[in-house]
Symmetry: C2
Subunit: 361 residues, 2 copies
Amino acid sequence: MTRPDHRFLILADDQFDPLTSKTANSCVRYFPERIVGVFDRRHAGKTVQDVLGFGGDIPVVGDFTKGLALGGGATAVLIGIAPAGGQLPDEWRAWLKTAIEQGLEVWSGLHTFIGDDPELGPIAKKTGVRILDARKPPAHLPIADGRAAEVPALTVLAVGSDCNVGKMTAQLQLRDALVKKGRRTSFVATGQTGIFIEGWGIAVDAVVADFIAGAAESLVLQGAKDHDIVLVEGQGSLIHPGYSGVTLGLLHGSCPDAMILCHQSSRDFIGDYHGRAPWVRIPPLPELIRIYEDAARPVRQSKVIAVCLNTFDLDERAARDAVERATKETGLPATDPVRFDPAPVVDAMIAAADEKKKHKH
Amino acid sequence: MTRPDHRFLILADDQFDPLTSKTANSCVRYFPERIVGVFDRRHAGKTVQDVLGFGGDIPVVGDFTKGLALGGGATAVLIGIAPAGGQLPDEWRAWLKTAIEQGLEVWSGLHTFIGDDPELGPIAKKTGVRILDARKPPAHLPIADGRAAEVPALTVLAVGSDCNVGKMTAQLQLRDALVKKGRRTSFVATGQTGIFIEGWGIAVDAVVADFIAGAAESLVLQGAKDHDIVLVEGQGSLIHPGYSGVTLGLLHGSCPDAMILCHQSSRDFIGDYHGRAPWVRIPPLPELIRIYEDAARPVRQSKVIAVCLNTFDLDERAARDAVERATKETGLPATDPVRFDPAPVVDAMIAAADEKKKHKH
């Protein structure tokens, strides 16, 4: 999966905001130069910066056809949301049809594969347009058998208190910082947005359940080639009732040497159950650390070595307090790697990598 | 999925034995009257009883065509193994083709759907033969949202030290015993063999990973209708590196009130990794109980209330010792529900059901 010189219009109608449009936001963060605009009728006329607090003057438009014409003309439409259940909202079908008929690629991370859509699939085939369903798993996956534990590289998995707390973003920030320090570091994408950003990976939440761990294992083996540190994108949370299976499969399949714990400081309950009475309370960080280390232990001893907080909704003072509190509570290096210096966590990873190398010799 | 008056030939070539051919063996245990023979060239000429130690004089044959003619002529071929990875062994294709061309249904629990096979699928369509791929998930599954926790019935999930230790068999034995005691008890099938036996269910290891818990939830809601006790078939093990994700998704999605822990007494390591150095050691039963209760806790408080041992490979004395040791170690009722009286575990379930009912009033 290559990312040629595409100019993307991002489809995020009615859902473009700092939390909901996770895929859109990460694409804005990691390849803004390729984005001609974002389609959301609620925020038409604003800039991406106005809505997200970053992203500069990329325009938000409320007219799909005008959006396609932006920036010299989009060459691809990227679906920028990942709704619960992954279904394609009916309303979007007409827009995608327009795009495909104009010869634009569609990049999607939905569970419903656009290429298999009875209406859109045949149109794309007829017009020779590529539909990239990033969640479509490869045809043959193995059952995990522990080979991920044997790579010489240091493998670090991001684990979290919940979905959508910044696990991917943390690993991407850390990867950049480690590369700057001369460490050959790979980012292993396990979800659709990471795949959009990296150009390869497997959406482990979309594979057949028996193969979650096997998919994770094969990703680590690939990421470890010619790299000294492998940062594995985390998924879900062990305490998320809907997605915990994906999280545990990823943990046991990737056999990480170490974990980093990611948490959004202001969040007290698992976020996907807001519609109901709050259901699953997020325990204190030391308890979360225990949960992950206990879950890993029967398969592989693995320690949480650092904490990454997401403090985007806190003011500067509260954010610094949150980091300090996390450090004190857990006895581990902590930071918000987007907002503050990632050094405390980067240094912990480098120390772990050097330690692993030493024990190999 | 009904089980009409089929006469099954079970395909288990080269793998018919007490452990490997799990699907075949369970079908023999639960509907022997519908099985005309088992195809395995290694054991041709023996009876099923000779090979398994139960199953009576059902013949094992080494000639597929002769097998099809047994017992007045088979009306369906049932694939009696579930190999790692679930792929269709190439050699079997010719046999299945023969069967389909003769108008026999094919019942399969493989991950590779026979109906989608480029050679067999079209032949079946042309000849109007039904292929039943038990692992094929329903088209629309929900994301779990906790409704399984709200059913008035007592929900009991079987959890295990490993795959293939007798979780399904234990629940089926207990269901029969509970029904005999007048308790309206359902068995909720979560795997292909259970589906063959019960006629309904979802193979949770074959759904898209994000929907494991949602599938489990929908099964519990269905199983709880008109029943007072719901016994949920367990899958895998939280300490099985390959399949732990399925196990945790099933645990969090089914929101059980209670669990029974299943273990094969003679097993010390997770069985699927025999080819390599033994990898994951099975911890003592009290530690396993702690692992399951800890994993459930963030989502739902659930206690292991009894232990079911599988002692098929021990002599009588050793089996009784194992049961006694398990009782002492865990402080819980224990039995081998196939070999011995299931009463200790049945009584624990009845007590839990009565307790739950009392708290409702």
